[in-house]
Symmetry: C2
C-alpha cells in the first residue's frame, strides 16, 4: 500500500471551489488504495492579510504573537479540507501542529522542525483515515505555536513524508512541473520528468521558485521522492505526470544539462582599489555576513601595483544594507564603491557535467557568439553561473537552451 | 490589588484602530495597578465569513472541523491584541483555549466549560503580565478545539472571572449599558446603574441582547459582578460608568420595576378545539420539546363542552418546525392550527415586584387605557409578560415606561 503526502499551495486552495477540486484528487488517491496525508497552505491572500495586520500594529512585533496570528490561515484551510473530504465519504480529520505534535525549536517565525510524532497518525492512516495537516506550523517546547517561515508548507509536507517514511510527496502547485527554462522566455522549453535533488536545489536557489530550498534539502536527506505537479488539471499524483525530484541513481536517462535558470534579483557591488594584502576578503565579508547580507558570486581581480578590485553580488533588496555595512563597519581603504543593479545571473545546471568536460566552454562560446559580455563567473560541481547585463537575459537563456539541445523537438 | 477580566466584542475589535483603542483602555487599567485578563471576540465579520465557508462545503458539516475553522477568528484577534499591548510597553501574551487549558465537554459547536486551570495564569498575572484569551473556544478531552456557540465570548469572560475569582468582569460593547427600555423606542429611557442577575436574565432572554444568557447565569452562580460598558468612549471599566450586574443585596436603591423589555421575535400558535382530557398538554408539548422547539408562553382556555384551545408562543424561526411536528408527531385530534406572526411580547421586569402587589394591575390598566388588547399573559416572580399585536409594540413600551416612573427627569 502506497503512502502519499500531498501538499496544496495557496492558489490551489484559493477558494471553496478549489478546495473541493483538491479534495476530489485525494478521493481518487484513496480509491486507488493509497493512504494519504494532505498538507494545506492558507487560502491565497490570507497570510498576507494577517502579516499586514501585525505590521499595522508595529514593525517590531513580537514574533511569538505573529506566529499565533498567521498560523490561523492554514488552520482554517485544514478544517475546510477535512469537511470537503468528509462530504465525499472519506473519513478525514484535521491535525494541527500542536495536535500531532510537530515539535520545533523556539526560533519563532523561522522555526526548524525537530521531531514529529507519527504513532497516532500511522494508526489513523492504517484505519483508512485521511489526515489533513496545516502546513507552515509547529509547536515549541513551551507549548506555543511556531511557524516555519514563508514557503514553510513545502517543508511541512516533506518533513512529514520523511517522518512517516512515505513513498512519495506530491507538491500540487500552479505549474505542471519543473521546466528546462522559464517557458515565458523559452516557448519551447520542455517539462523535466525526473531531476536529481542537487539539480533541483540549484534551480530552486537560482530563481525557479517551484519548491522551497529547505524542502528539497530535506528530501535529499531522507530520500523521499518529491513530485511537482499541477493542481488544476484532472490528473492525480499517482499518474506521475509531473516532475519527480529524486536521487541521482533513479534517473536512468541522465542529461548532460538539465536546465537553464536565470535570476534578475541580483546586484553587483564593486569595491574599487583596495590594498591587496592577506585578510582583505575576510575584512570585507565578515561584517557583511554579520549583517546577514547574502553574498553570492565573488571575484577578485588580478592585483596591480599592490591594489585590487573586489566584486560580488547580493540580492537587490540587500544592496542598501550592504553599502551601509561596508561604509560603516568595514575597516578597509578603497577608492570607490560601485553598485550595478542592471545585471542578471544565468546558470546552466546539470548533474551530468560532473563527469563531462567542455560544458563551461560551450556556455562561454555561445554567449560570445551572441556578443553577450560576461561580467562575473562562478561555478560549482553541477552548475555554471555567469552575470550578464540585464538586457541580455532572454537572449542568453534562449541561446543556451538551444545550444545544450534542450529545445523541444 | 484588583483583578479584572475585560472582554471586547466583535465591533470593539473590528479593525486594527479599534484593537489599539481597546489596548489603550487595558494600559490605563494596568496603570491603576490592576491585574487584567483580556478576552477578545473575532474581528466583526470574520466569524460569519468562516461559518459561510463551512456552509458552502456542506450544510451537514462535521462540527468538530467547523470548530477548528471558526475558532481561528478569535485566535487572530488574541495575537493582535497582545501585539498592541506590547507596543505600549505592557508585557502581554496570548493564551489559546488549549494552552490554558479551558477544558470543555465534547459537544462541539455548543460546548460547555468543565474546568479552567488557573495556576499558570495567576503566576503570570502576579508577575505583572496581561493575559489575552480568545473567547468562544476551549479544548476537549480528545485534544480537539471546541467552541461554545455564538456569543460564547461573554461566557469565556465570565467563566474565567469566576475561575480566577476576579473582582469584576467588564464586558465592553457597542452600547454604554443596559437601559430601562430600548432607547430607539423610548427616547428618554435611562441607563441602569446597577441591576440584579435575575433581572438581567429576564431582560437578556426578552430581547435586550446586551449579554448572553449563559454568561449571566454563570455570573449569578459565581457572584462575579459583570459590568456592561461602551468600548467607544475614553472611559475605562474601573470608572464604573456602565451598568453593573450584581447580587440583589448589593443594590441599595432597589426600584420596583427595572425596565420594560420587548421582543418581536415571537409567533403565536393556537391548536383549536382539542379534547380536554388529562394528558393533553403533555401529548402536545412533549413532541415539541423533543424537536427542540422553544415553547415560551402557554395558555389553555377554559373548557367548553369537553373541548379546549391551546395557545402558545415560539420564536418566529421555529414556527415551521413546530407546525410540522404537531402535524406529524402529535397524537391529538384538533379542528384547526392557527399561526399568528404579528405579535410582540412586552415585559415588565423588576426584582422589587417580588414584595409588591399591584405591579401587574398597573400594567393591565395602562394597556387598557391605550386600547391595547392583551392576547396572552405569563408571569414569573420578577416579570410580567403580555403578548400584544405587533403594531402596538412601541405604544405599549412607551406607555408602560412612563407609567412605572422610568422616564428620565
Amino acid at each position: 500500500m502506497t503512502l502519499i503526502v500531498a501538499k496544496f499551495g495557496g492558489t490551489s486552495v484559493a477558494d471553496i471551489a478549489r478546495i473541493e477540486r483538491a479534495a476530489e484528487k485525494i478521493v481518487k488517491e484513496t480509491e486507488q488504495g493509497n493512504k494519504v496525508v494532505v498538507v494545506v497552505s492558507a487560502m491565497s491572500g490570507v497570510t498576507n492579510q494577517l502579516v499586514d495586520y501585525c505590521g499595522q500594529i508595529s514593525s517590531m512585533y513580537d514574533v511569538r504573537e505573529y506566529d499565533t496570528v498567521v498560523s490561523s490561515g492554514e488552520q482554517i484551510t485544514s478544517g475546510l479540507m477535512a469537511l470537503a473530504l468528509q462530504k465525499r465519504g472519506v473519513t478525514a480529520r484535521s491535525w494541527l501542529g500542536w495536535q500531532i505534535p510537530i515539535k520545533t525549536n523556539a526560533i519563532h517565525g523561522k522555526a526548524r522542525i525537530e521531531s514529529i510524532d507519527t504513532d497516532e497518525l500511522h494508526k489513523r492512516l492504517n484505519a483508512g483515515e485521511v489526515a489533513v495537516v496545516p502546513g507552515f506550523q509547529g509547536v515549541t517546547a513551551l507549548n506555543r505555536i511556531s511557524t516555519l517561515g514563508r514557503g514553510g508548507s513545502d517543508t511541512t509536507a516533506v518533513a512529514l513524508a520523511a517522518a512517516l517514511q512515505a513513498d512519495r510527496c506530491d507538491i500540487y502547485t500552479d505549474v505542471d512541473g519543473v521546466y528546462t527554462a522559464d517557458p515565458r522566455i523559452v516557448p519551447n522549453a520542455r517539462k523535466i520528468n525526473k531531476i536529481a535533488y542537487e539539480e533541483m536545489l540549484e534551480l530552486a536557489s537560482l530563481g525557479s521558485k517551484v519548491l522551497q530550498t529547505r524542502s528539497v534539502e530535506m528530501g535529499a536527506k531522507s530520500g523521499v521522492p518529491i513530485q511537482v505537479l499541477s493542481s488544476f488539471g484532472d490528473e492525480i499524483g499517482s499518474a506521475l505526470k509531473g516532475t519527480l525530484v529524486t536521487t541521482e541513481d533513479k534517473i536512468v536517462e541522465q542529461e548532460l544539462v538539465s536546465g537553464i535558470a536565470h535570476s534578475r534579483d541580483e546586484a553587483k557591488i564593486t569595491v574599487v582599489k583596495v590594498k591587496d594584502v592577506p585578510g582583505v576578503a575576510a575584512r570585507l565579508f565578515d561584517p557583511l555576513a554579520e549583517a546577514s547580507v547574502n553574498v553570492d558570486m565573488i571575484v577578485q581581480n588580478i592585483s596591480a601595483e599592490g591594489f585590487t578590485d573586489m566584486t560580488f553580488t547580493v540580492p537587490r533588496g540587500e544592496v542598501e544594507l550592504a553599502v551601509k555595512t561596508i561604509k560603516e563597519n568595514v575597516d578597509l581603504q578603497y577608492n570607490d564603491l560601485i553598485v550595478d543593479n542592471n545585471v542578471a545571473k544565468i546558470s546552466v545546471v546539470g548533474i551530468g557535467m560532473k563527469s563531462h568536460a567542455g560544458v563551461a566552454n560551450k556556455m562561454f562560446k555561445t554567449l560570445a557568439e551572441k556578443n553577450i559580455n560576461i561580467l562575473v563567473i562562478s561555478t560549482s560541481e553541477i552548475k555554471i553561473s555567469v552575470l550578464v547585463e540585464d538586457d541580455y537575459t532572454e537572449l542568453a537563456v534562449r541561446s543556451l537552451h538551444a545550444a545544450y539541445g534542450l529545445d523541444a523537438a
